[in-house]
Amino acid sequence: MSPAHASDGQLVNKARAGDRNAFGALVAQYLRPALAVAWEYAPSRDDAEDLVQEAFHRALRGLEGFDERLPFRPWLFTIIRNVGRNAAERNARWGSVAVPDTLPANDADPADLAHRALLRERIDQGLDLLPPMQRSCFRLCDVEGFEVSEVAEMLGVASATVRTHRHRARATLRTALQRLQDERKAE
């Protein structure tokens, strides 16, 4: 059976014996949600990538003690969150400089650019005001497009909790954007 079609349990068994292909298949399978979770704790994508790498290495070292009959996914996300928390604490202690993730395009209409910049600023302000859990639920569901159940597993909470946080986050952001729209109408 090829690693691509093997179950998590089979891949875990092979990876704990040092099978590179099996470990690679596990990495490929969970990389996207892993990076999304790590990014919630990291100031930049580069930092998030480093966190994911560290988390996968820790998981590999911990496979010997892992019961392959249990689901691999929640276990991996627990490791990622722990690595993320430690990194966030380190960053808070020593300070870190965030690198902007994107640069604005040069060929857009200046008025449109200005409006987008304002919109983004308001969304950012709104997000800044959100409690971290609401922000994560909103971002992972509405920005990154993960299912509620996936996000619940990624963050280690119940689906209902994700739904509640997401709903509150949306309400807060809607109010912030409504204010922006009203200001534009008044101008």
Binding site: A15, R16, A17, G18, D19, R20, F23, G24, V27, A28, L31, R32, L35, A36, W39, E40, Y41, A42, P43, E49, V52, Q53, F56, H57, L60, R61, L63, E64, R81, G84, R85, A88, N91, A92, A98, D101, T102, R120, I123, D124, L127, D128, L129, L130, P131, P132, M133, R135, S136, R139, V143, E144, G145, L155, G156, V157
Partner: protein
């Protein structure tokens, strides 16, 4: 749950480029190679045997001791027996036989056929 990172900003979506994910997966897998190699060596086929090495050693020592104890005190050299049997083939008065059985080199004359006085 400990709260995620406090820096708030609407981040861009995760990259959609498959090559990005492939490269990142390769990087993570490749950098894990030392750990994988360690796991491979730990799970090698000879490791269960290696774990039994002390038991094998004790068993081998016991077998060696048992062999020493079971062996007879002295064994007659096989050559001597053979030589004795060989000597028995000859009559004690047989001069030719004495040449083969005796330890000393035979006289040259004794190896020659005795003259009978008759011409061939």
């Amino acid at each position: 749950m400990n709260e995620p990172h406090d820096r708030g900003a609407l981040r861009p979506r995760l990259p959609d480029d498959p090559t990005y994910w492939e490269a990142l997966a390769y990087r993570i897998t490749d950098s894990a190679e030392p750990v994988l190699a360690e796991l491979r060596s730990r799970n090698a086929w000879w490791n269960p045997l290696a774990r039994l090495a002390p038991a094998f050693g004790v068993g081998a020592l016991a077998a060696t001791l048992a062999a020493f104890v079971a062996l007879p005190a002295a064994v007659e050299p096989a050559v001597q027996t053979q030589e004795g049997a060989f000597a028995d083939l000859f009559d004690p008065g047989d001069e030719v036989g004495a040449v083969f059985v005796g330890g000393a080199a035979p006289e040259l004359a004794s190896l020659l056929v005795a003259q009978t006085g008759r011409e061939p």
